[in-house]
């Protein structure tokens, strides 16, 4: 009842000078409006920024096989042949934090088209999932190869922009045949431009082809020449009978050396060079790493205490950039918000001080008819808060409308933020209390005799 009466008195007092009340509120309206608009536009920009950094590969994990060693000699990362395409499928199937995963086979060879040739940085054998992992699904031309191409080891490929330029020079590469190590590949598509990566490598200098094709037709990489520690080299004519070296059971009866020499069979080495996996978001990277570790240790039958035969790298640098950028944006927005609210608050204080001076006689009169100091204090404080809250409400509408306008007219990304709105309400009430207190306190300390005599 009492609060209601005071609020109504405040409204009545404010209504007596509507123009001044409106101008006063304008400071808060603009302040809160700016805060809301900044928060919403800022949140949208932040999300867009996060997305573009994520497209640089911030969510990507690289799983490499571990280090082989023999007799105390280490052969360097990636020298064991522990990763298989089935590992990749298992990761995709069993890790909820992983969005997509692609097996990778690398080769380096000369590429020839007509009378031109080029040695690309990377010839990657992979699956169509790679494009999704790298956020590269928009091709400039043509189409990507598909899963069937991978299963059949079809000789198809996608070219990076650099290769398309070097080999075709303006001509459309779609449907043309290029040769890699004398094996003809039909070009099905051209990747969009990605530019250099953070290390300065040209990411467009690449050919993507089904991993099976690269593995079995182009790359000579096998257990025999990658892993020098294994003794397969001594098994001179090669074992040939194992379809997959990792599986222990033999599909065919053991052949004698003579039989093997007479019927050479290609060994389908099914190890891959690395796996690229994309986590759902930057926040889920660490849980993705845990899940992958668990899946791979189980699949590779590693006992507790045995070291991993693989290692997982995340793009720590990019992730750090991402979190720094996010923090920076948040702080920037907060600073702008604070400044505009302080400006609005000073405006309120200014007008309230003017109002107190102007209404000195009224204050004196109210004291003469029995208002105590705290009644006056409350009255002016409530007036300031009413002004601020009204201004806050109008500011929310203005700010939200402004950010919607920005969204439709400028096509900026905008995100509605309910937390900003709640914050604005509390902050505008807070500003009213803080900046309304001094004038109200000043009013409450007036001497009624002096105040009544004030001209």
């Amino acid at each position: 009842m009492r609060v209601l009466t005071t609020a109504r008195t405040a409204f009545t007092a404010l209504r007596r000078n509507p123009l001044r009340a409106m101008l006063t509120t304008l400071g808060i309206v603009i302040g809160v409006g700016a805060v809301i608009a900044m928060m919403e536009i800022g949140a949208g920009s932040k999300a867009a920024l996060n997305k573009s950094i994520a497209s640089m590969g911030a969510n990507v994990l690289v799983i490499r096989p571990g280090t082989a060693s023999s007799g105390g000699v280490s052969f360097g990362a990636g020298t064991t042949t522990s990763l298989t395409p089935l590992d990749c499928q298992a990761i995709l199937r069993e890790c909820p934090a992983i969005r997509n995963a692609a097996p990778m086979v690398r080769a380096r060879a000369q590429v020839v088209y007509g009378n031109r040739n080029w040695v690309p940085n990377n010839i990657y054998g992979t699956t169509p999932a790679y494009l999704d992992v790298q956020d590269w699904s928009n091709l400039a031309l043509g189409e990507p190869f598909n899963e069937r191409d991978v299963l059949n080891a079809n000789r198809v490929c996608i070219l990076g922009q650099t290769l398309a330029r070097e080999l075709f020079d303006g001509e459309s590469p779609i449907g043309k045949e290029i040769r890699i190590k004398n094996i003809a590949f039909r070009v099905t598509g051209v990747l969009s431009t990605k530019g250099s990566n953070m290390m300065g490598f040209d990411q467009d200098d690449v050919i993507l082809a089904p991993w099976t094709t690269i593995k079995y037709r182009v790359s000579g990489t096998s257990l025999a020449n990658v892993n020098q520690s294994t003794s397969s080299a001594t098994d001179s004519v090669n074992t040939l009978s194992n379809l997959y070296p990792s599986t222990q059971t033999s599909l065919y009866p053991k052949q004698s050396s003579v039989q093997q020499a007479n019927n050479p069979m290609p060994v389908r080495f099914a190890n891959i060079d690395h796996i690229m996996a994309a986590a759902n978001s930057a926040a889920e990277i660490s849980s993705a790493i845990d899940q992958i570790t668990e899946v791979l240790r189980e699949r590779h039958r590693l006992q507790a205490g045995e070291p991993d035969d693989f290692n997982i790298r995340d793009m720590a640098e990019l992730t750090r950039t991402l979190s720094t950028t996010t923090l920076l944006m948040t702080n920037l927005l907060l600073a702008v918000a604070m400044i505009s609210l302080v400006v609005g608050g000073v405006g309120i204080m200014n007008i309230m001080l003017v109002s107190v001076t102007e209404r000195t006689r009224e204050i004196g009169l109210r004291m003469a008819v029995g208002a105590r100091g705290r009644d006056i204090l409350r009255q002016f404080l409530v007036e300031a808060i009413v002004l601020c809250l009204t201004g806050g409400a109008m500011g929310i509408i203005l700010g939200h409308g402004g950010s919607l306008l920005v969204r439709y007219l400028l096509k900026w990304p905008v995100e509605t933020s309910p937390s900003a709105i709640t914050l604005a309400v509390f902050v505008s009430a807070g500003v009213g209390i803080i900046f309304g207190f001094y004038p109200a306190w000043k009013a409450s300390r007036l001497d009624p005799i002096e105040a009544l005599r004030y001209e």
Binding site: M1, R2, T5, T6, T9, T12, R15, R16, N17, R361, E362, G364, L365, R366, M367, A368, V369, G370, A371, R372, G373, R374, D375, P448, I449, L452
Partner: protein, 241 residues
Amino acid sequence: MELIKLHGIEKTYQMGDISVPVLKGISLTIQQGELVALTGSSGSGKSTLMNILGCLDRPSAGEYWLDGVATSQLSTDERALLRNRKLGFVFQSFNLLARTSALENVAMPLSYTAEHLSDGEIKKRATEMLGRVGLADRLNHHPSQLSGGQQQRVAIARALINHPPVLFADEPTGNLDSRTSEEVLQMFERLNREDGITIIMVTHDPKVAAHARQIIRMDDGLIQNSAPASFPAQQPPGEPS
């Protein structure tokens, strides 16, 4: 019955190093139901005495009993409550709230002590009070739409809304022409006569003072004489002169 009793009231203002005595020991008694005029030349201390009587200011020395309460010991808040309950003020410049209806102006003092009253009761009391000062048809007029006399009557209604036993009027007719002054003074007389409200007027106009039944003349911080008016108005009811 003694409503107001002063004993040895002194008031000294401190102007830097110099102390300026304004009231130099005033003792006086005012009975309930009196109509008193406080007169004197300017600088005689009548306004200061009025402020002390109205509990707006504290004396430097001396005792003041209002309706049996020793006010010198009261805190600021207690004095505010006392003003609200027992005293009404009418000022020379009316002091109405601008752009506020007569009704709201009259109801204003109730917002400080009368939380128990509902909106309807507050409105009823204010309407009734405005009716008593003859402004029943001007409830929603703003001060700028009222004449000076009507404004002063609104101010009187406001002063009486809490049914105080004492009404202070500081130069109540100072801003009014003679005809309206006469109306206002007659209203004071009527309130004093019919409702038994003690009225204390500060004025330097002998014609205004002539309406009072008792005139207290002040000079240089002292009461020169306290005498019944030379041509007294009507007798208060139930009190032989």
